[in-house]
C-alpha cells in the first residue's frame, strides 16, 4: 500500500464539503467471459491451423487476424495475453503463495501445444500483437540475414529477463513495456504510446519487428515449433527451386536451397575446427554469463518495490536526499522498523543475484548454441519455411507455381533455375 497514490490530487478544502468519490477498482472479468476467452482461443487456434496448413488461405488468415485484433486486442484490452502469461507461469513456479489463474495458464500453454502440432499458427492470426503488425506491413524491406541472426537473439534475452523479474517478484516487465497495449486501450504513458506508434511505423517497412526481435513468447514458440508434427510448406508437393518465393517472405523465414559447390578438404577442415572451437566455447560463454548475470542482478533488484523503497529510505537516512517520497513517508508512518525493511530488501537483492546468474546461464547457452548452429553447414534441396522462424502468414503460397496449379490459377512464366 506504500505505493498507491491518487491519480489526481483531491480538493484540499474540507469546508466545501466536497464528497470524494468512492475509490473503485476495475471490475474483474467474469468467470463466464474468461471461459469464453479460452473457448475463442481454442477455436481461433484451430481455425488458424486449418487456414494455414490445410486451406493455405492468406485471405482467411488476414480476416482471422482482424478478428483477433478486435477481440483479443481492443475488446479484451490485450489482457491476459499469451506473451504476458509466461510471467504468471514463472511466478507460479517460483512463488508458492501465487496460484496461476486458469486463463493465464490456458493462454500460456494452448498456443505452445498448438506450436507442437502445427508450428507457429498462433503468431499467424491469433496473437493480436502479431496480427496488428502483419496488417500494417505495407512496404516490406529486407533485413540483412546476418543482422536477422543477431537481432532475433534479443527475444531470448528478453525471455530470460522476464522470467527473472517475474520469479523474483520484480514485476511483469513484458506487460510494463508492452508497446501495443496502449493502442488496444487507447491510453498509456507518453513513452509507451510513442514506443507503440514507433513500432507500428517501423512495421510498415520491417515485417513484425516486435515478433521477430523482441517477443519472448515468439522465442518460446520458435523452439516448440521446431518439433511440430505438421508444418507450413511453401510448395504444396514438390519444390521446383524456381526461386519465385525467394523474396516473398518479409520475415526472412525461408531457408533457401543450398547452392551446390564442391567443398575443398581445407574448407571442410576449417569448418570442423570452427565447430569444435564453438563447442568448447559454450561453457566459457555460460561461465561469463553467470558472472555478469549475477553482477547485473544487483541492479535488477532495484525494480523490486521493497528494494526500491529500502534504497530510498537509506538515501534519506544518510542525508543523500533531503525530501521524502509518498512511499517512504507512508512506510515511516507505519512504524515498521528500518532494520526489517533493510533485511527484507537485502534478501530480495540476494534472490536477484541468484536469478541473474541463471539468466546469465540462459544467455550464454543461447549465444553459444547460436554460434554452433551458424558453424554447421547444412545441405538443402528445397526452398522451405524455417520451422522456428515461420509465423505461418501464408504470404509465400501464392508465389509458388505449384500452388497456383493446385488452385487452378494461371501460372506465370517460370524463369530458368539459377
Amino acid at each position: 500500500m506504500f505505493f498507491a497514490a491518487q491519480r489526481f490530487p483531491p480538493p484540499q478544502f474540507t469546508e466545501t464539503k466536497h464528497q470524494l468519490p468512492v475509490m473503485t477498482e476495475p471490475a474483474v472479468r467474469s468467470l463466464g467471459l474468461e471461459r469464453l476467452d479460452i473457448a475463442v482461443l481454442v477455436v481461433v487456434l484451430v481455425l488458424a491451423a486449418w487456414l494455414a496448413l490445410r486451406l493455405r488461405s492468406r485471405r482467411g488468415l488476414v480476416w482471422l487476424g482482424i478478428f483477433s485484433v478486435v477481440y483479443f486486442g481492443f475488446w479484451r484490452k490485450g489482457c491476459i495475453c499469451s506473451i504476458g502469461s509466461i510471467q504468471n507461469i514463472a511466478q507460479g513456479i517460483f512463488d508458492s503463495n501465487y496460484a496461476v489463474p486458469v486463463t493465464a495458464l490456458a493462454f500460456g500453454l494452448l498456443p505452445l501445444a498448438a506450436a507442437l502440432l502445427f508450428g507457429r499458427v498462433f503468431c499467424s492470426a491469433v496473437c493480436p500483437h502479431g496480427a496488428l503488425q502483419d496488417l500494417v506491413l505495407l512496404k516490406p524491406v529486407k533485413v540483412p540475414e546476418w543482422l536477422e541472426h543477431g537481432l532475433r537473439l534479443l527475444a531470448y534475452v528478453y525471455l530470460g529477463l522476464a522470467v527473472v523479474f517475474a520469479a523474483t517478484g520484480g514485476g511483469y516487465i513484458i506487460c510494463q513495456y508492452d508497446p501495443f497495449i496502449t493502442i488496444f486501450r487507447l491510453s498509456g504513458s507518453a513513452l509507451m504510446v510513442s514506443l507503440g506508434i514507433g513500432l507500428l511505423v517501423l512495421g510498415v517497412f520491417v515485417g513484425r519487428p516486435y515478433c521477430r526481435f523482441l517477443c519472448p513468447y515468439g522465442a518460446l514458440l520458435g523452439m516448440f515449433s521446431t518439433l511440430s508434427k505438421w508444418r507450413v510448406r511453401i510448395a504444396p508437393e514438390n519444390c521446383t527451386q524456381c526461386r519465385l518465393c525467394e523474396q516473398s517472405c518479409p520475415f526472412n523465414s525461408i531457408n533457401k536451397a543450398s547452392v551446390d559447390a564442391p567443398a575443398t578438404e581445407h574448407a571442410i577442415a576449417t569448418d570442423k575446427r570452427r565447430l569444435a572451437i564453438f563447442i568448447l566455447l559454450l561453457p566459457v560463454l555460460v561461465g561469463v554469463g553467470v558472472w555478469f548475470g549475477g553482477f547485473a542482478g544487483k541492479n535488477f533488484a532495484r525494480k523490486h518495490r521493497v528494494v526500491n523503497l529500502a534504497e530510498r529510505v537509506h538515501l534519506e537516512e544518510t542525508g543523500a536526499v533531503k525530501d521524502t517520497t509518498d512511499a517512504s513517508a507512508a512506510f515511516r508512518a507505519t512504524g515498521e522498523p528500518l532494520e526489517k525493511l533493510f533485511a527484507d530488501a537485502d534478501a530480495v537483492r540476494r534472490r536477484f543475484v541468484v536469478a541473474g546468474r541463471w539468466c546469465g546461464v540462459w544467455v550464454g547457452l543461447v549465444i553459444g548454441l547460436k554460434l554452433i548452429s551458424l558453424a554447421i553447414r547444412r545441405k538443402r534441396t528445397d526452398y522451405e519455411a524455417d520451422q522456428s522462424r515461420c509465423v505461418a502468414c501464408a504470404r509465400c503460397f501464392r508465389y509458388c507455381p505449384e500452388e497456383l496449379k493446385r488452385l487452378g490459377l494461371p501460372v506465370p512464366e517460370v524463369p530458368p533455375q539459377s
Binding site: 478544502f13 547452392v259 544487483k298 528494494v307 537516512e317 533493510f342
Partner: protein, 553 residues
Amino acid sequence: MKAMLHQVALALTIASATFLLAVGGLLVFNQTRGKVNGLVTSRERVTLIEQLHKRPKDDALKQRIRALDLQLRRQTFTQLRLSSNGARAMIGALVVLLASAHFVRVANRATPNPLAWGARHADQDRRTGLIARYAVSSLFGVLVATALFLGIQPVRLPERVAPVVEAPLTVAEWEQNWPAFRGPWAAGISKTPVKLKQLWKVEAPLPGMSSPVIWSNALFLSGADEKEERVFRFDTDTGKLVWSSPVKVATPPAGPPKLNEDTGHAAPTPVTDGRRVYAIFANGDVAAFDFNGKQVWARNIGQLENAYGYASSLTLWQNRLLIQLDLGQEGDGKSKMLALDTRTGKDVWQTPRPTGGSWASPIVAMVEDKPQLITCGDPFILAYDPVNGAELWRANGLSSDLAPSPILASNLVIALKVNADVIAIRPNGKGDVTKTHVAWTTTDGAPDVPSPVAVGNRLYLLSGGGLLRCCDVATGKELWAHDFGEEFYSSPTLVGNTLVMISRKGVLFATEAGEKYKDATKLPLGEAYNSSPAFRGARMYLRGKNNLFCFGE
C-alpha cells in the same frame, strides 16, 4: 473501373495518412501542454499551496487556489477527453489507411523475376554465416557491457549487520514503571501507598523544573543552565549518581533561548522506554542516551519560540518520541506535533497544529483499546493517532497561557481552560466534536498550572493559588473544596488512596482522597519545589530546587 477504384484508394490512402499525421500532431501538442500546466504538475498551484501553509487564514489566497484548482481540473479533463476522442479517430483513420493502401499495393504488385536478382553463389552463404557469427558475438559483447554498466550501479543498502533485536515496548512494562511525566498514562496515580519517611537525599547537579522518571532501579533527571545541558542517572536504592552525560548536538543553536526564570532551561520532563532515556531542553536540543549514559543520538529541532520558555514534557508510543511544539501565536503556523524515531532521532511524522504557544504536556491514553495522543493548546483540545499523526478529533474551548495537561478519567478527557472552564469530552468522536461530544463544562474556575487527577467518580482540581476542589467526574459538580493557602506548580498525585500535593515553598500535603476533605498531613521539605513526584513501588522521589529526595521504606 479498376483504374478509378485504384485512384480512389490512392486518394483515400493519402487523405487518411494526412489525417493521421494531423491528429497525431494535435495529440502530441495536447499532451505536451498538459505536462507543462496540468493539474498534477502546475507549479503555480504548488507555490500557492506552500504560501497557504505559511498563511493558513488568508481567505483571498484560498479563493485564488480554489479558482486555479477548478480551472486546472477543467483543463485537465478536457485534455483527457480530447486525447481519448483523438485516439479513437486515429484508429478509424488507420483502418481506412490500411485498407486503401493494401488495395493500392495489391493492384501494383508485379510478378517476381528471379533473373533480376542474379545468380546465387556458395560464397554468399559462407560470407553471410561469417558476418552473422560476428553479429552474434557482438551482441554478446553488448550484453556483457550492459551487465557491467548495470552492475557498477548496484542497489545501495546499508551494510549488512547483525540485526539488533530490540523487544518492542509492552504495555505491561510501561505500566510497571514511572517512565514519563505523571506516570505511565500521565494520570498522576501510583497504586502503592508510601510512608513519608525520608530514605535519602542527594544534590541535583544542575537546575531544572523537570520531574524525575524511573525505569527499574534507574532514576533519570535532566538539568541545564545557560552553559550546559545534562541528563543524570541515579540509583533508586541509594541515591548514588550513576552517570552524568552532557548533550552534544552536531549543530548547536545560534544563541540561548528567551525564557522566563521560573521555567528555566530544563522544564520538560524526560521520558524513558527502558531502552533509552530521552530529554528535551528549552533551546530545542533533543537527545537520547542509553542506560550506560552513552549518547545514542542528539539533534536540535529548531528555535522553540515560546513566551515563558519551552515546558511541554515528552511522551512516547512504541518507537515514536512525541513532542508537542506549541510555539508563537495562534494562526502563525509555527506549532506542530512532531514524532521522532526513538532509535535514530529522525522525523517519523509531523502534523501542523492550529494552536499558539502553550506549556501543557501531551498524554497517550488508551481509548476503546486504541491509543490516542491527546493534547491541549490554544484554543483546541486535539487528539491524534500516535502512529501516523493523523488528527482524530478536536474540540474548541481553551485559551492562552495554558499549562495544565489533560487526563483521561472515566472515559472522559478532562481539559482545563485556565482560570475558567473545566471541560469533559467523550473521546470517541471524529473531526470537530465541540458540539457533539462535550459531556459537560463547568465555569467555576479551573487550575492555572497543576494538572488534575481523578479516581473513581471523583475529580480533584488543585489551583495554583492552593484551592483543592473535588468534583463529580460524570457531571463536573463540585462536592467539596479546601484552601491550603499556599501556591502550587506541582500537580497532585494519588498515592494509594492519598492525595499528595507539594507547594512551591516545599511543603508536602497528604490528605485522604475521599468524599469529604480530611485534615492533611504536612511535611516540610526545606526547599522550594515545583516539579511533580515520581513513584516506584512503595517509594516516592521528589526533585526540589536543589536536591533529590526519596521517601518510603
